[in-house]
Protein backbone atom coordinates (compact mmCIF):
# COMPACT_ATOMS: atom_id res chain seq x y z
CA UNK A 1 0.00 0.00 0.00
CA UNK A 2 1.43 3.40 -0.97
CA UNK A 3 1.77 6.28 1.48
CA UNK A 4 -1.10 8.19 -0.15
CA UNK A 5 -3.38 5.16 0.15
CA UNK A 6 -2.42 4.68 3.80
CA UNK A 7 -3.28 8.32 4.58
CA UNK A 8 -6.55 8.01 2.66
CA UNK A 9 -7.41 4.86 4.57
CA UNK A 10 -6.64 6.53 7.90
CA UNK A 11 -8.76 9.53 6.97
CA UNK A 12 -11.58 7.23 5.95
CA UNK A 13 -11.27 5.33 9.23
CA UNK A 14 -11.47 8.55 11.22
CA UNK A 15 -14.28 9.96 9.14
CA UNK A 16 -16.45 10.34 12.20
CA UNK A 17 -15.60 11.12 15.84
CA UNK A 18 -16.92 7.65 16.69
CA UNK A 19 -14.86 5.77 14.09
CA UNK A 20 -12.63 4.35 16.85
CA UNK A 21 -15.57 2.39 18.25
CA UNK A 22 -15.48 -0.82 16.26
CA UNK A 23 -16.04 -4.56 16.50
CA UNK A 24 -12.38 -5.21 17.30
CA UNK A 25 -11.26 -6.90 20.51
CA UNK A 26 -10.18 -3.59 21.99
CA UNK A 27 -6.70 -2.73 20.78
CA UNK A 28 -5.03 -5.61 22.61
CA UNK A 29 -4.84 -3.60 25.81
CA UNK A 30 -4.86 -5.42 29.14
CA UNK A 31 -8.00 -4.92 31.23
CA UNK A 32 -6.96 -2.75 34.18
CA UNK A 33 -8.29 -3.25 37.71
CA UNK A 34 -10.31 -0.02 37.38
CA UNK A 35 -11.98 -1.34 34.23
CA UNK A 36 -12.65 -4.69 35.86
CA UNK A 37 -14.31 -3.11 38.88
CA UNK A 38 -16.32 -0.84 36.58
CA UNK A 39 -17.57 -3.82 34.57
CA UNK A 40 -18.43 -5.73 37.74
CA UNK A 41 -20.21 -2.81 39.41
CA UNK A 42 -22.25 -2.09 36.25
CA UNK A 43 -23.42 -5.72 36.30
CA UNK A 44 -24.51 -5.19 39.92
CA UNK A 45 -26.33 -1.97 38.91
CA UNK A 46 -28.17 -3.79 36.13
CA UNK A 47 -29.14 -6.57 38.58
CA UNK A 48 -30.66 -4.02 40.97
CA UNK A 49 -32.42 -2.05 38.21
CA UNK A 50 -33.81 -5.29 36.74
CA UNK A 51 -35.10 -6.27 40.16
CA UNK A 52 -36.69 -2.86 40.72
CA UNK A 53 -38.22 -2.83 37.20
CA UNK A 54 -40.05 -6.05 37.95
CA UNK A 55 -41.05 -5.59 41.59
CA UNK A 56 -42.13 -1.96 41.20
CA UNK A 57 -43.93 -2.16 37.88
CA UNK A 58 -44.65 -5.82 37.32
CA UNK A 59 -48.19 -6.87 38.11
CA UNK A 60 -47.08 -10.36 37.11
CA UNK A 61 -43.84 -9.95 39.00
CA UNK A 62 -43.23 -13.64 39.70
CA UNK A 63 -43.30 -14.26 35.94
CA UNK A 64 -40.33 -11.91 35.68
CA UNK A 65 -42.36 -9.66 33.36
CA UNK A 66 -42.73 -5.92 33.88
CA UNK A 67 -45.13 -3.54 32.16
CA UNK A 68 -42.35 -0.96 32.20
CA UNK A 69 -38.97 -2.67 32.10
CA UNK A 70 -36.94 0.49 32.64
CA UNK A 71 -33.63 -1.35 32.86
CA UNK A 72 -33.84 -2.25 29.15
CA UNK A 73 -32.39 1.05 27.83
CA UNK A 74 -29.70 0.97 30.53
CA UNK A 75 -28.20 -2.32 29.43
CA UNK A 76 -28.53 -1.36 25.78
CA UNK A 77 -26.57 1.85 26.39
CA UNK A 78 -24.08 0.03 28.67
CA UNK A 79 -23.49 -2.47 25.86
CA UNK A 80 -22.60 0.33 23.47
CA UNK A 81 -20.23 1.70 26.11
CA UNK A 82 -18.73 -1.51 27.43
CA UNK A 83 -19.31 -4.14 24.73
CA UNK A 84 -19.28 -7.73 25.94
CA UNK A 85 -19.52 -6.62 29.57
CA UNK A 86 -22.80 -4.81 28.88
CA UNK A 87 -24.18 -7.93 27.19
CA UNK A 88 -23.06 -9.98 30.20
CA UNK A 89 -24.76 -7.46 32.50
CA UNK A 90 -28.01 -7.76 30.53
CA UNK A 91 -28.02 -11.55 30.89
CA UNK A 92 -26.84 -11.81 34.51
CA UNK A 93 -29.09 -8.88 35.48
CA UNK A 94 -32.10 -10.70 34.10
CA UNK A 95 -31.17 -14.07 35.64
CA UNK A 96 -30.50 -12.68 39.13
CA UNK A 97 -32.49 -9.41 39.30
CA UNK A 98 -35.58 -10.10 37.19
CA UNK A 99 -35.52 -13.84 37.85
CA UNK A 100 -34.11 -15.26 41.06
CA UNK A 101 -34.60 -12.17 43.25
CA UNK A 102 -38.29 -11.87 42.32
CA UNK A 103 -38.80 -15.60 42.86
CA UNK A 104 -39.11 -16.92 39.33
CA UNK A 105 -37.02 -20.02 40.00
CA UNK A 106 -33.54 -20.79 38.80
CA UNK A 107 -34.30 -22.86 35.70
CA UNK A 108 -36.87 -20.48 34.15
CA UNK A 109 -34.60 -17.53 35.02
CA UNK A 110 -31.59 -19.01 33.22
CA UNK A 111 -33.66 -19.90 30.16
CA UNK A 112 -35.89 -16.86 29.68
CA UNK A 113 -33.00 -14.43 30.22
CA UNK A 114 -31.78 -15.34 26.74
CA UNK A 115 -34.41 -12.79 25.69
CA UNK A 116 -32.28 -10.07 27.28
CA UNK A 117 -29.03 -11.45 25.89
CA UNK A 118 -29.86 -11.40 22.19
CA UNK A 119 -30.96 -7.73 21.68
CA UNK A 120 -27.82 -6.05 23.07
CA UNK A 121 -25.61 -8.56 21.25
CA UNK A 122 -27.25 -7.94 17.87
CA UNK A 123 -27.50 -4.19 18.47
CA UNK A 124 -23.78 -3.95 19.27
CA UNK A 125 -22.89 -5.74 16.02
CA UNK A 126 -25.27 -3.63 13.92
CA UNK A 127 -24.31 -0.25 15.39
CA UNK A 128 -20.57 -0.75 15.67
CA UNK A 129 -20.21 -2.90 12.58
CA UNK A 130 -22.50 -1.20 10.09
CA UNK A 131 -24.39 1.90 11.22
CA UNK A 132 -21.30 3.56 12.70
CA UNK A 133 -19.73 3.51 9.25
CA UNK A 134 -22.90 4.99 7.73
CA UNK A 135 -22.80 8.09 9.91
CA UNK A 136 -24.91 6.91 12.85
CA UNK A 137 -23.25 7.27 16.26
CA UNK A 138 -23.00 3.89 18.05
CA UNK A 139 -23.18 5.71 21.40
CA UNK A 140 -26.61 7.17 20.46
CA UNK A 141 -25.46 10.78 21.00
CA UNK A 142 -27.02 11.79 17.68
CA UNK A 143 -30.46 11.15 19.19
CA UNK A 144 -30.03 14.28 21.30
CA UNK A 145 -27.08 16.28 19.91
CA UNK A 146 -26.98 18.27 16.69
CA UNK A 147 -23.20 18.10 16.60
CA UNK A 148 -20.58 15.70 17.96
CA UNK A 149 -17.14 17.32 17.91
CA UNK A 150 -16.91 18.98 14.51
CA UNK A 151 -19.31 16.57 12.86
CA UNK A 152 -22.96 17.45 12.28
CA UNK A 153 -25.28 14.57 13.10
CA UNK A 154 -28.26 13.16 11.20
CA UNK A 155 -30.82 13.21 14.00
CA UNK A 156 -33.74 12.16 11.84
CA UNK A 157 -31.91 9.14 10.47
CA UNK A 158 -30.55 8.28 13.91
CA UNK A 159 -34.09 8.17 15.29
CA UNK A 160 -35.38 6.13 12.34
CA UNK A 161 -32.67 3.48 12.81
CA UNK A 162 -33.07 3.58 16.58
CA UNK A 163 -36.83 2.99 16.40
CA UNK A 164 -36.54 0.39 13.65
CA UNK A 165 -33.76 -1.68 15.20
CA UNK A 166 -34.00 -1.23 18.96
CA UNK A 167 -37.65 -0.45 19.53
CA UNK A 168 -39.24 -2.65 16.85
CA UNK A 169 -37.06 -5.48 15.51
CA UNK A 170 -34.91 -6.38 18.53
CA UNK A 171 -37.75 -5.78 20.95
CA UNK A 172 -39.95 -8.05 18.87
CA UNK A 173 -37.32 -10.79 18.98
CA UNK A 174 -36.90 -10.24 22.72
CA UNK A 175 -40.66 -10.48 23.41
CA UNK A 176 -41.00 -13.56 21.21
CA UNK A 177 -38.06 -15.29 22.87
CA UNK A 178 -39.02 -14.36 26.44
CA UNK A 179 -42.71 -15.15 26.25
CA UNK A 180 -42.11 -18.15 23.97
CA UNK A 181 -39.71 -19.71 26.49
CA UNK A 182 -42.05 -18.99 29.40
CA UNK A 183 -44.92 -20.50 27.42
CA UNK A 184 -42.93 -23.65 26.69
CA UNK A 185 -42.13 -23.95 30.39
CA UNK A 186 -45.83 -23.75 31.23
CA UNK A 187 -45.60 -20.35 32.92
CA UNK A 188 -47.93 -18.52 30.52
CA UNK A 189 -51.58 -19.57 30.04
CA UNK A 190 -52.29 -20.46 26.37
CA UNK A 191 -55.11 -17.93 25.91
CA UNK A 192 -53.10 -15.16 27.56
CA UNK A 193 -50.04 -15.56 25.33
CA UNK A 194 -50.61 -12.34 23.35
CA UNK A 195 -51.49 -10.30 26.45
CA UNK A 196 -48.13 -11.24 27.98
CA UNK A 197 -46.41 -10.66 24.64
CA UNK A 198 -47.95 -7.20 24.24
CA UNK A 199 -47.08 -6.34 27.87
CA UNK A 200 -43.45 -7.28 27.26
CA UNK A 201 -43.19 -5.48 23.90
CA UNK A 202 -44.93 -2.26 24.94
CA UNK A 203 -43.17 -2.13 28.34
CA UNK A 204 -39.74 -2.38 26.75
CA UNK A 205 -40.57 -0.07 23.83
CA UNK A 206 -41.81 2.79 26.03
CA UNK A 207 -38.79 2.47 28.31
CA UNK A 208 -36.42 2.49 25.33
CA UNK A 209 -37.96 5.57 23.69
CA UNK A 210 -38.29 7.66 26.85
CA UNK A 211 -35.23 6.73 28.88
CA UNK A 212 -32.46 6.22 26.29
CA UNK A 213 -32.14 9.94 25.34
CA UNK A 214 -32.05 10.87 29.03
CA UNK A 215 -29.22 8.45 29.80
CA UNK A 216 -27.31 9.46 26.68
CA UNK A 217 -27.67 13.18 27.39
CA UNK A 218 -26.85 12.79 31.07
CA UNK A 219 -24.02 10.30 31.03
CA UNK A 220 -22.37 9.49 27.70
CA UNK A 221 -20.16 12.60 27.65
CA UNK A 222 -19.10 11.95 31.25
CA UNK A 223 -18.18 8.33 30.53
CA UNK A 224 -16.38 9.16 27.28
CA UNK A 225 -14.48 12.10 28.81
CA UNK A 226 -13.06 9.77 31.45
CA UNK A 227 -11.90 7.37 28.74
CA UNK A 228 -14.17 4.61 29.98
CA UNK A 229 -15.88 3.70 26.68
CA UNK A 230 -14.60 0.46 25.14
CA UNK A 231 -13.26 0.74 21.62
CA UNK A 232 -14.08 -2.94 21.01
CA UNK A 233 -15.74 -5.96 22.57
CA UNK A 234 -13.44 -6.35 25.60
CA UNK A 235 -11.69 -3.01 26.25
Amino acid sequence: MSNTETVKSAVAQDKYPWSKYTLGIGGGRKVTSTQYTLYIVQIAVIIILSYLSVVMLGPLSFSGISFFYFVYPFFMVFTEWWGLWGILAAYIGCVVGAGLMVGLGIVPSILYSVADLVPPLVMFIIYRGFLGKMGIDPLFRDLTDKQIGETKTHRGMAWVWFILINVVVLNLISAQLGIGIEYQLGLVPPSAYWYYWAGWFVGDAIAMIIITPIIVKGLTSLVERQGLVNTGWIT
Binding site: I40, V41, V45, I47, F62, L100, I106, P108, L185, G218
Partner: protein
Amino acid sequence: MAKEDAEARTKKEYVRTFIFSMKVGTPVEKLHVITKALMIVIMSIVALYMFDIPISKGGPDIAGLVFLLALVFVLLGLARSAKYLVTSYLLLALPVLFGEFFWWLFFDRALPGPTIPFYIWPGYFPIGISTVLFLVVFFGLYYRMRSVMWPLIAALILWFISITPAFLDVYPYTWVAIKTGGLFAFTLPSASVTVAFGKVLGYGVLIYTSFLFLLTTRDTEIAGALRQLKASFRAAFFAALMFRNLNIILIDYENIRTAQRARGAEVQRRNILARIVDLAYIAIPLVASMIKRSTEMGVALYARGFENAKKPVDYKETKGISYMDVIVIAIMVGFLVYTVILGHTIRALI
Protein backbone atom coordinates in the same frame (compact mmCIF):
# COMPACT_ATOMS: atom_id res chain seq x y z
CA MET B 1 -4.07 -11.27 66.81
CA ALA B 2 -4.88 -12.30 63.24
CA LYS B 3 -5.75 -15.77 64.56
CA GLU B 4 -8.10 -14.24 67.16
CA ASP B 5 -9.75 -12.13 64.47
CA ALA B 6 -10.24 -15.18 62.29
CA GLU B 7 -11.72 -17.11 65.23
CA ALA B 8 -14.06 -14.22 66.08
CA ARG B 9 -15.28 -14.18 62.49
CA THR B 10 -15.88 -17.90 62.42
CA LYS B 11 -17.65 -17.88 65.81
CA LYS B 12 -20.39 -15.52 64.67
CA GLU B 13 -23.92 -16.64 65.56
CA TYR B 14 -25.48 -15.09 62.44
CA VAL B 15 -23.91 -14.35 59.06
CA ARG B 16 -25.13 -12.05 56.31
CA THR B 17 -26.65 -13.70 53.25
CA PHE B 18 -27.84 -12.25 49.94
CA ILE B 19 -31.10 -10.86 51.27
CA PHE B 20 -31.04 -11.40 55.06
CA SER B 21 -28.91 -13.26 57.57
CA MET B 22 -28.85 -16.90 58.61
CA LYS B 23 -28.02 -18.69 61.80
CA VAL B 24 -24.70 -20.49 61.81
CA GLY B 25 -24.69 -24.21 62.53
CA THR B 26 -28.09 -25.14 61.09
CA PRO B 27 -28.27 -28.21 58.80
CA VAL B 28 -28.97 -26.00 55.76
CA GLU B 29 -26.07 -23.65 56.56
CA LYS B 30 -23.74 -26.65 56.76
CA LEU B 31 -24.63 -27.75 53.23
CA HIS B 32 -22.15 -26.89 50.49
CA VAL B 33 -23.28 -24.11 48.16
CA ILE B 34 -22.98 -26.49 45.19
CA THR B 35 -25.39 -28.88 46.94
CA LYS B 36 -27.83 -26.02 47.59
CA ALA B 37 -27.61 -24.84 43.98
CA LEU B 38 -28.12 -28.38 42.67
CA MET B 39 -31.02 -28.86 45.08
CA ILE B 40 -32.90 -25.77 43.89
CA VAL B 41 -32.19 -26.55 40.24
CA ILE B 42 -33.65 -30.05 40.63
CA MET B 43 -36.63 -28.80 42.65
CA SER B 44 -37.33 -26.19 39.94
CA ILE B 45 -37.15 -28.79 37.16
CA VAL B 46 -39.40 -31.20 39.07
CA ALA B 47 -41.94 -28.43 39.87
CA LEU B 48 -42.01 -27.32 36.22
CA TYR B 49 -42.55 -30.93 35.16
CA MET B 50 -45.21 -31.68 37.79
CA PHE B 51 -47.42 -28.66 37.06
CA ASP B 52 -47.24 -29.20 33.31
CA ILE B 53 -48.48 -32.81 33.14
CA PRO B 54 -51.32 -32.72 30.57
CA ILE B 55 -54.89 -33.49 31.58
CA SER B 56 -54.84 -36.52 29.24
CA LYS B 57 -52.11 -37.99 31.49
CA GLY B 58 -53.89 -37.21 34.74
CA GLY B 59 -53.17 -33.47 35.06
CA PRO B 60 -50.78 -31.70 37.44
CA ASP B 61 -49.33 -33.83 40.24
CA ILE B 62 -50.93 -31.88 43.09
CA ALA B 63 -49.66 -34.32 45.75
CA GLY B 64 -46.13 -34.03 44.42
CA LEU B 65 -46.27 -30.23 44.36
CA VAL B 66 -47.65 -30.11 47.92
CA PHE B 67 -44.80 -32.43 48.97
CA LEU B 68 -42.22 -30.16 47.28
CA LEU B 69 -43.69 -27.03 48.86
CA ALA B 70 -43.70 -28.68 52.28
CA LEU B 71 -40.08 -29.73 51.75
CA VAL B 72 -39.07 -26.13 50.95
CA PHE B 73 -40.77 -24.84 54.10
CA VAL B 74 -39.14 -27.56 56.21
CA LEU B 75 -35.74 -26.49 54.82
CA LEU B 76 -36.53 -22.83 55.51
CA GLY B 77 -37.55 -23.82 59.03
CA LEU B 78 -34.31 -25.76 59.51
CA ALA B 79 -32.37 -22.71 58.30
CA ARG B 80 -34.25 -20.58 60.88
CA SER B 81 -35.33 -18.27 58.04
CA ALA B 82 -39.03 -19.14 57.98
CA LYS B 83 -40.05 -16.36 60.41
CA TYR B 84 -38.43 -13.64 58.28
CA LEU B 85 -39.95 -15.10 55.14
CA VAL B 86 -43.45 -15.27 56.68
CA THR B 87 -43.32 -11.63 57.74
CA SER B 88 -41.96 -10.37 54.41
CA TYR B 89 -42.06 -12.34 51.18
CA LEU B 90 -44.82 -14.80 52.08
CA LEU B 91 -47.36 -12.00 52.51
CA LEU B 92 -46.12 -10.23 49.39
CA ALA B 93 -46.33 -13.44 47.39
CA LEU B 94 -49.84 -14.39 48.44
CA PRO B 95 -51.74 -11.79 46.32
CA VAL B 96 -49.59 -12.72 43.32
CA LEU B 97 -50.26 -16.44 43.78
CA PHE B 98 -53.93 -15.61 44.17
CA GLY B 99 -53.80 -13.59 40.94
CA GLU B 100 -52.03 -16.43 39.15
CA PHE B 101 -54.84 -18.80 40.14
CA PHE B 102 -57.49 -16.64 38.48
CA TRP B 103 -55.26 -15.86 35.53
CA TRP B 104 -54.89 -19.59 34.81
CA LEU B 105 -58.54 -20.24 35.56
CA PHE B 106 -59.78 -17.80 32.91
CA PHE B 107 -57.02 -17.99 30.31
CA ASP B 108 -56.75 -21.75 29.96
CA ARG B 109 -60.22 -22.45 28.63
CA ALA B 110 -59.39 -24.89 25.85
CA LEU B 111 -58.99 -27.80 28.27
CA PRO B 112 -60.91 -31.02 27.51
CA GLY B 113 -63.61 -32.54 29.75
CA PRO B 114 -66.86 -31.38 31.40
CA THR B 115 -67.53 -27.79 32.42
CA ILE B 116 -68.70 -26.34 35.74
CA PRO B 117 -70.78 -23.19 36.27
CA PHE B 118 -69.54 -20.06 38.08
CA TYR B 119 -71.47 -16.97 39.15
CA ILE B 120 -70.59 -13.36 38.59
CA TRP B 121 -73.67 -12.76 40.74
CA PRO B 122 -75.84 -15.70 41.91
CA GLY B 123 -79.15 -13.78 41.88
CA TYR B 124 -79.38 -13.79 45.67
CA PHE B 125 -77.39 -12.48 48.64
CA PRO B 126 -75.91 -15.52 50.39
CA ILE B 127 -75.52 -15.85 54.15
CA GLY B 128 -73.23 -18.74 55.02
CA ILE B 129 -69.57 -19.74 54.93
CA SER B 130 -68.84 -16.74 52.65
CA THR B 131 -70.20 -14.39 55.37
CA VAL B 132 -68.02 -16.07 58.00
CA LEU B 133 -65.00 -15.72 55.69
CA PHE B 134 -65.74 -12.01 55.17
CA LEU B 135 -66.00 -11.34 58.92
CA VAL B 136 -62.91 -13.36 59.84
CA VAL B 137 -60.74 -11.69 57.17
CA PHE B 138 -62.03 -8.17 57.89
CA PHE B 139 -61.69 -8.31 61.67
CA GLY B 140 -58.45 -10.30 61.49
CA LEU B 141 -56.82 -7.71 59.26
CA TYR B 142 -58.41 -4.79 61.13
CA TYR B 143 -56.94 -6.13 64.39
CA ARG B 144 -53.49 -6.18 62.77
CA MET B 145 -53.63 -2.99 60.66
CA ARG B 146 -56.03 -0.75 62.65
CA SER B 147 -57.49 0.71 59.47
CA VAL B 148 -60.77 -0.02 57.66
CA MET B 149 -59.96 0.50 53.98
CA TRP B 150 -57.53 -2.36 53.10
CA PRO B 151 -59.12 -4.99 55.38
CA LEU B 152 -62.49 -4.16 53.79
CA ILE B 153 -61.12 -4.45 50.24
CA ALA B 154 -59.34 -7.75 51.02
CA ALA B 155 -62.44 -9.17 52.78
CA LEU B 156 -64.73 -8.11 49.90
CA ILE B 157 -62.47 -9.69 47.28
CA LEU B 158 -62.29 -12.99 49.18
CA TRP B 159 -66.03 -12.90 49.85
CA PHE B 160 -66.77 -12.35 46.15
CA ILE B 161 -64.46 -15.20 45.16
CA SER B 162 -66.13 -17.51 47.68
CA ILE B 163 -69.58 -16.95 46.17
CA THR B 164 -68.55 -17.53 42.54
CA PRO B 165 -68.49 -21.38 42.41
CA ALA B 166 -72.08 -22.46 41.72
CA PHE B 167 -71.69 -25.74 43.62
CA LEU B 168 -71.34 -23.74 46.87
CA ASP B 169 -74.93 -22.41 46.75
CA VAL B 170 -76.31 -25.31 48.80
CA TYR B 171 -76.35 -26.20 52.50
CA PRO B 172 -73.97 -26.39 54.44
CA TYR B 173 -72.08 -23.68 52.46
CA THR B 174 -75.07 -21.34 52.08
CA TRP B 175 -77.56 -21.13 54.98
CA VAL B 176 -79.88 -18.36 53.82
CA ALA B 177 -80.36 -16.95 50.29
CA ILE B 178 -81.90 -13.45 50.18
CA LYS B 179 -83.26 -13.01 46.64
CA THR B 180 -82.01 -9.94 44.77
CA GLY B 181 -82.47 -10.92 41.10
CA GLY B 182 -79.94 -10.42 38.33
CA LEU B 183 -78.35 -13.85 37.87
CA PHE B 184 -75.10 -13.76 35.86
CA ALA B 185 -73.20 -17.00 35.28
CA PHE B 186 -70.56 -18.57 33.02
CA THR B 187 -68.90 -21.97 32.68
CA LEU B 188 -65.30 -23.13 32.81
CA PRO B 189 -63.70 -26.53 32.15
CA SER B 190 -63.66 -28.39 35.46
CA ALA B 191 -60.01 -29.37 34.80
CA SER B 192 -59.00 -25.70 34.75
CA VAL B 193 -59.48 -25.50 38.53
CA THR B 194 -57.01 -28.37 39.03
CA VAL B 195 -54.58 -26.86 36.52
CA ALA B 196 -54.81 -23.40 38.13
CA PHE B 197 -54.28 -24.89 41.60
CA GLY B 198 -51.32 -26.89 40.30
CA LYS B 199 -49.82 -23.76 38.77
CA VAL B 200 -50.16 -21.86 42.06
CA LEU B 201 -48.43 -24.66 43.97
CA GLY B 202 -45.72 -24.87 41.29
CA TYR B 203 -45.18 -21.11 41.41
CA GLY B 204 -45.00 -21.40 45.19
CA VAL B 205 -42.22 -23.99 44.87
CA LEU B 206 -40.30 -21.82 42.36
CA ILE B 207 -40.65 -18.69 44.49
CA TYR B 208 -39.69 -20.24 47.81
CA THR B 209 -36.82 -22.33 46.45
CA SER B 210 -35.36 -19.09 45.06
CA PHE B 211 -35.71 -17.47 48.46
CA LEU B 212 -34.29 -20.55 50.15
CA PHE B 213 -31.13 -20.10 48.10
CA LEU B 214 -30.93 -16.31 48.57
CA LEU B 215 -31.65 -16.52 52.31
CA THR B 216 -29.11 -19.23 53.03
CA THR B 217 -26.19 -18.38 50.74
CA ARG B 218 -23.30 -15.96 51.24
CA ASP B 219 -21.42 -14.20 48.47
CA THR B 220 -18.12 -15.54 49.80
CA GLU B 221 -19.46 -19.08 49.58
CA ILE B 222 -19.96 -18.61 45.86
CA ALA B 223 -16.44 -17.29 45.46
CA GLY B 224 -15.10 -20.24 47.45
CA ALA B 225 -17.14 -22.71 45.40
CA LEU B 226 -15.90 -21.16 42.15
CA ARG B 227 -12.31 -21.67 43.34
CA GLN B 228 -13.11 -25.30 44.16
CA LEU B 229 -14.49 -25.65 40.64
CA LYS B 230 -11.06 -24.50 39.40
CA ALA B 231 -12.20 -21.03 38.30
CA SER B 232 -9.39 -18.46 38.34
CA PHE B 233 -8.87 -16.39 41.48
CA ARG B 234 -9.72 -13.26 39.50
CA ALA B 235 -13.06 -14.68 38.31
CA ALA B 236 -13.99 -15.83 41.84
CA PHE B 237 -12.96 -12.51 43.33
CA PHE B 238 -15.03 -10.50 40.88
CA ALA B 239 -18.07 -12.75 41.32
CA ALA B 240 -17.87 -12.08 45.07
CA LEU B 241 -17.37 -8.36 44.42
CA MET B 242 -20.45 -8.26 42.20
CA PHE B 243 -22.72 -9.89 44.78
CA ARG B 244 -21.24 -7.78 47.60
CA ASN B 245 -22.07 -4.62 45.64
CA LEU B 246 -25.77 -5.45 45.36
CA ASN B 247 -26.59 -4.23 48.86
CA ILE B 248 -24.48 -1.09 48.44
CA ILE B 249 -26.23 -0.17 45.19
CA LEU B 250 -29.64 -0.75 46.72
CA ILE B 251 -28.68 1.59 49.59
CA ASP B 252 -27.42 4.15 47.03
CA TYR B 253 -30.74 3.91 45.20
CA GLU B 254 -32.70 4.52 48.41
CA ASN B 255 -30.46 7.48 49.33
CA ILE B 256 -30.91 9.11 45.91
CA ARG B 257 -34.66 8.58 46.11
CA THR B 258 -34.80 10.12 49.57
CA ALA B 259 -32.71 13.07 48.38
CA GLN B 260 -35.06 13.64 45.45
CA ARG B 261 -38.07 13.50 47.76
CA ALA B 262 -36.38 15.99 50.07
CA ARG B 263 -36.11 18.30 47.05
CA GLY B 264 -39.85 17.94 46.49
CA ALA B 265 -39.76 15.41 43.64
CA GLU B 266 -43.00 13.71 44.72
CA VAL B 267 -44.85 16.69 46.18
CA GLN B 268 -46.94 17.41 43.09
CA ARG B 269 -49.39 14.95 41.58
CA ARG B 270 -47.87 14.14 38.20
CA ASN B 271 -48.92 12.06 35.25
CA ILE B 272 -47.57 8.57 34.58
CA LEU B 273 -45.12 9.82 31.93
CA ALA B 274 -43.54 12.29 34.35
CA ARG B 275 -43.14 9.51 36.92
CA ILE B 276 -41.46 7.30 34.34
CA VAL B 277 -39.01 10.08 33.53
CA ASP B 278 -38.38 10.45 37.29
CA LEU B 279 -37.22 6.84 37.37
CA ALA B 280 -34.63 7.62 34.72
CA TYR B 281 -33.49 10.68 36.65
CA ILE B 282 -32.99 8.52 39.75
CA ALA B 283 -30.87 6.09 37.77
CA ILE B 284 -28.52 8.76 36.39
CA PRO B 285 -26.93 9.73 39.74
CA LEU B 286 -26.90 6.00 40.50
CA VAL B 287 -24.76 5.33 37.43
CA ALA B 288 -22.57 8.37 38.18
CA SER B 289 -21.94 7.09 41.73
CA MET B 290 -21.28 3.63 40.26
CA ILE B 291 -18.52 5.05 38.07
CA LYS B 292 -17.02 6.96 41.01
CA ARG B 293 -17.12 3.91 43.30
CA SER B 294 -15.64 1.53 40.76
CA THR B 295 -12.82 3.97 40.04
CA GLU B 296 -12.05 4.15 43.78
CA MET B 297 -12.15 0.37 44.10
CA GLY B 298 -9.97 -0.05 41.04
CA VAL B 299 -7.39 2.37 42.44
CA ALA B 300 -7.47 0.57 45.80
CA LEU B 301 -6.90 -2.79 44.08
CA TYR B 302 -4.09 -1.32 42.01
CA ALA B 303 -2.46 0.21 45.11
CA ARG B 304 -2.51 -3.22 46.76
CA GLY B 305 -0.73 -4.76 43.79
CA PHE B 306 -3.72 -6.74 42.56
CA GLU B 307 -2.72 -6.54 38.90
CA ASN B 308 0.73 -8.04 39.49
CA ALA B 309 -0.11 -10.45 42.32
CA LYS B 310 1.19 -13.90 41.41
CA LYS B 311 0.02 -15.84 44.48
CA PRO B 312 -2.87 -13.98 46.13
CA VAL B 313 -4.17 -15.19 49.51
CA ASP B 314 -6.97 -17.58 48.66
CA TYR B 315 -10.50 -17.69 50.05
CA LYS B 316 -10.78 -19.47 53.37
CA GLU B 317 -14.58 -19.73 53.11
CA THR B 318 -14.34 -23.01 51.24
CA LYS B 319 -16.02 -26.14 52.49
CA GLY B 320 -15.47 -29.73 51.57
CA ILE B 321 -18.30 -31.93 50.33
CA SER B 322 -19.59 -33.78 53.42
CA TYR B 323 -21.54 -37.04 53.75
CA MET B 324 -24.70 -34.94 54.22
CA ASP B 325 -24.05 -33.22 50.87
CA VAL B 326 -23.67 -36.58 49.16
CA ILE B 327 -26.89 -37.88 50.74
CA VAL B 328 -28.87 -34.74 49.75
CA ILE B 329 -27.53 -34.83 46.18
CA ALA B 330 -28.34 -38.56 45.90
CA ILE B 331 -31.91 -38.03 47.16
CA MET B 332 -32.47 -35.11 44.80
CA VAL B 333 -31.07 -36.93 41.76
CA GLY B 334 -33.19 -39.98 42.68
CA PHE B 335 -36.27 -37.75 42.91
CA LEU B 336 -35.47 -36.20 39.50
CA VAL B 337 -35.02 -39.62 37.87
CA TYR B 338 -38.21 -41.01 39.48
CA THR B 339 -40.43 -38.12 38.39
CA VAL B 340 -39.05 -36.42 35.28
CA ILE B 341 -37.08 -39.24 33.61
CA LEU B 342 -39.22 -42.28 34.51
CA GLY B 343 -42.44 -40.23 34.47
CA HIS B 344 -43.86 -41.46 37.82
CA THR B 345 -45.99 -39.24 40.05
CA ILE B 346 -46.15 -38.79 43.81
CA ARG B 347 -49.96 -39.16 43.71
CA ALA B 348 -49.44 -42.72 42.38
CA LEU B 349 -47.60 -43.51 45.63
CA ILE B 350 -50.56 -42.27 47.65
